[in-house]
């Protein structure tokens, strides 16, 4: 094993944590390439070497999809309560939510509003995975339902970008019921022939997958996103088998006929614009900003 020790000895630590500001150098989670932070950001947080899609902060996601300056956020003040008075070892759920609000600067795990996409008027929403794993409680369910209701009332297509671990346990049965509530709102949208495009990001699982995320008229996904109902660990424990490589990834889902298309982040907006055109969405009267 001499060659191994030699390599180790010659390795140079390029990320001296004391002198380099955090985030300047990033190691690719997939190919281990060391990337220059600003380059990664400029590339929409996609690894230039292997195309690995890093998670994109919520505000950048909105910026990526909405025409510049067109996003008008709605329901900013909708927040979850603590209907169960849920505690874990004395620690209150209410305090956990407060801490998440403070660290993320957003009210709950979902942001939605009106926007233009390539000049088409839409109701756009996206999960904030950084907020308690994008989990869906009452506030998230309410905001999505309101978004879909606006979509119906204004006859504008709805776009939802999902990234969530599923229903939020700490709000118990009320979280589970948000699946039914949002799906009921979608039923009305479908009935009225207002289009709904579902965009699946890494990861989309549990109660979010098993409701609106899987109900898109068209379902798009980013490459290699984990998408499924049960988490891989739970499945492994149940069937006592190692899961095959790529199981529950976007490519696997497309192969099994569950999603329509896999879209590179760079092409997401163009793809949405193409779909909106096909659906016959009216364009904004004042013309459009190609953004």
């Amino acid at each position: 094993m001499a060659w191994w020790t030699r390599e180790k000895a010659t390795a140079i630590d390029v990320t001296d944590k004391r002198s380099v500001p955090k985030g300047v150098w990033v190691k690719c989670e997939e190919c281990d390439e060391i990337l220059f932070g600003p380059d990664l950001d400029a590339n929409l947080r996609v690894c230039p070497r292997c195309d690995h899609h890093f998670s994109l902060p919520t505000r950048d996601r909105l910026r990526l999809i909405a025409d510049e300056g067109s996003f008008v956020e709605a329901d900013l003040g909708v927040e979850s309560g603590d209907p169960l008075g849920f505690r874990v070892d004395g620690k209150k759920y209410r305090d956990r939510v407060k801490a998440a609000r403070k660290s993320t600067g957003i009210a709950d795990a979902y942001r939605a509003g009106s926007a233009r996409v390539g000049g088409y008027e839409v109701e756009l929403g996206t999960f904030a995975f950084e907020f308690l794993g994008g989990s869906m409680g009452s506030a998230v369910g309410e905001k999505i339902t309101r978004q879909l209701e606006r979509s119906l009332a204004r006859r504008r297509p709805a776009i939802i970008c999902s990234a969530s671990g599923g229903a939020r346990m700490q709000e118990g049965i009320l979280s589970l019921m948000q699946m039914a509530k949002t799906s009921a709102a979608l039923a009305r949208l479908r009935e009225a022939k207002v289009p709904y495009i579902s965009v699946l990001l890494h990861p989309t699982t549990g109660g979010v997958a098993a409701s609106f995320a899987m109900l898109g008229d068209v379902i798009l996904a980013e490459p290699k996103a984990l998408i499924g109902f049960a988490g891989p660990r739970v499945i492994e424990q149940t069937i006592r088998q190692k899961l095959p490589e790529g199981f529950q990834r976007s490519e696997f889902l497309m192969e099994h006929g569950i999603i329509d298309s896999i879209v590179h982040r760079r092409e997401l907006k163009d793809r949405l614009v193409r779909l909106l055109a096909w659906f016959g969405t009216p364009r904004h009267a004042a013309g459009h900003d190609a953004g």
Binding site: L76, G77, V78, E79, S80, G81, P83, L84, F86, R87, V88, D89, A107, G137, S138, A139, G141, E142, A167, M169, E171, G172, I173, L174, S175, L176, M177, Q178, M179, A180, K181, S183, A184, A185, L186, A187, R188, E191, G207, A209, A210, S211, F212, A213, M214, L215, G228, F229, A230, G231, V234, I235, T238, I239, L243, F247, Q248, H256, G257, I258
Partner: protein
């Protein structure tokens, strides 16, 4: 107080908190057997019977949420197919999703309920290992939800009310289930059930386990048997994720607020159906009688409504679920 079945009750079929009552009952049985014309234990038997009954009432008055979870999963608890012959006439089971398979963890069929033709649909667990292999412990795969969907569309086309019965640990977390679109199958049921133009009454008769339960649970009324539970996640799953400690199941069960009275308070359950004394497994007839009366009364309130009125009300009911705070944002 008669047990649901006349088969002998094995020790492993008795929950810890049921044991004092069961032991008294065994003693009573013994006394009855050794009673002869010359030695009469009549007084002693009557005394013990009174005591057993009092003890049972005391124990059941103070059940913890975790004990109710155990009751909802009791090995002797009546399953859908135990209720069907008691509640319905001329049940005709219909099989399969017309695409992949017949998932035996969900049973569906045509039946007459009193004077009404209805669709019966529900989860089915097995009573022993062989049955459980067949029924997959009541954990459904996509083809199960799709069979349910097919039958619900059928009921809607012919104007027949839908009665669903929920009793599942949850959707099956398996490889094939994911390959065949477990999430989509559940989601589709939620969407379609929200808009079906016929009355839907969903009753949780045992375990209401997460998405797999909800996939048969969207309706005009949600009823729960007294010791049924309904939860976003099992207490075991919750304990291992939030407490990182499997021994905290009882605490998790408490925090999750998953009992029938909890769900009434949270505005999810419309009515709790009382079980017979000692739980449904000790009084199938009594429990079924209460269930029949409640289902009949609830259906009476729904069958006269115009389809659009029915679906509007259903939407408003779902729409109102959740507890949010709304802050003014300047």
């Amino acid at each position: 107080m008669s047990p649901a079945s006349t088969a002998p009750v094995y020790d492993r079929q008795i929950l810890e908190f049921e044991r004092p009552v069961v032991e008294l009952e065994r003693k009573i049985q013994e006394l009855k057997q050794i009673s002869t014309a010359s030695i009469d234990f009549g007084d002693e038997i009557r005394r013990l019977e009174k005591k057993a009954r009092r003890l049972q009432v005391e124990i059941f008055a103070e059940l913890s949420p975790w004990q109710k979870v155990q009751l909802s999963r009791h090995p002797l608890r009546p399953y859908l197919l135990d209720y069907v012959p008691v509640l319905f006439d001329d049940f005709l089971e219909l099989h399969g999703d017309r695409a992949f398979a017949d998932d035996a963890s969900i049973v569906g069929g045509l039946a007459r309920f009193g004077a009404r033709e209805v669709l019966v649909l529900g989860h089915q667990k097995g009573r022993n290992t062989r049955e459980n292999v067949h029924r997959n412990f009541g954990m459904s795969r996509p083809e199960g939800y799709r069979k349910a969907l097919r039958l619900m569309h059928l009921a809607a086309r012919f104007g027949r009310p839908i009665l669903t019965f929920i009793d599942t640990p949850g959707a099956y977390p398996g490889l094939g289930a994911e390959e065949r679109g477990q999430a989509e199958a559940i989601a589709k049921n939620l969407e379609v059930m929200a808009g079906l133009p016929v009355p839907i009454v969903a009753t949780v008769i045992g375990e209401g386990g997460s998405g797999g339960a909800l996939a048969l649970g969207v309706g005009d009324r949600v009823l729960m048997l007294e010791y049924a539970i309904y939860s976003v996640i099992s207490p075991e799953g919750c304990a291992s994720i939030l407490w990182k400690d499997q021994s905290k199941v009882a605490t998790a069960a408490e925090e999750l607020k998953l009992t029938a009275p909890d769900l009434v308070r949270l505005g999810i359950c419309d009515e709790v159906v009382p079980e017979g004394e000692g739980g449904a497994h000790r009084d199938l007839e009594g429990t079924a009688r209460n269930l029949r009366a409640t289902l009949d009364r609830q259906l009476d309130l729904l069958v006269g409504l115009a389809p659009s009125e029915l679906t509007d009300r259903r939407y408003r009911k779902l729409r109102a679920i959740g507890v949010c705070e709304e802050r003014a944002v300047s």
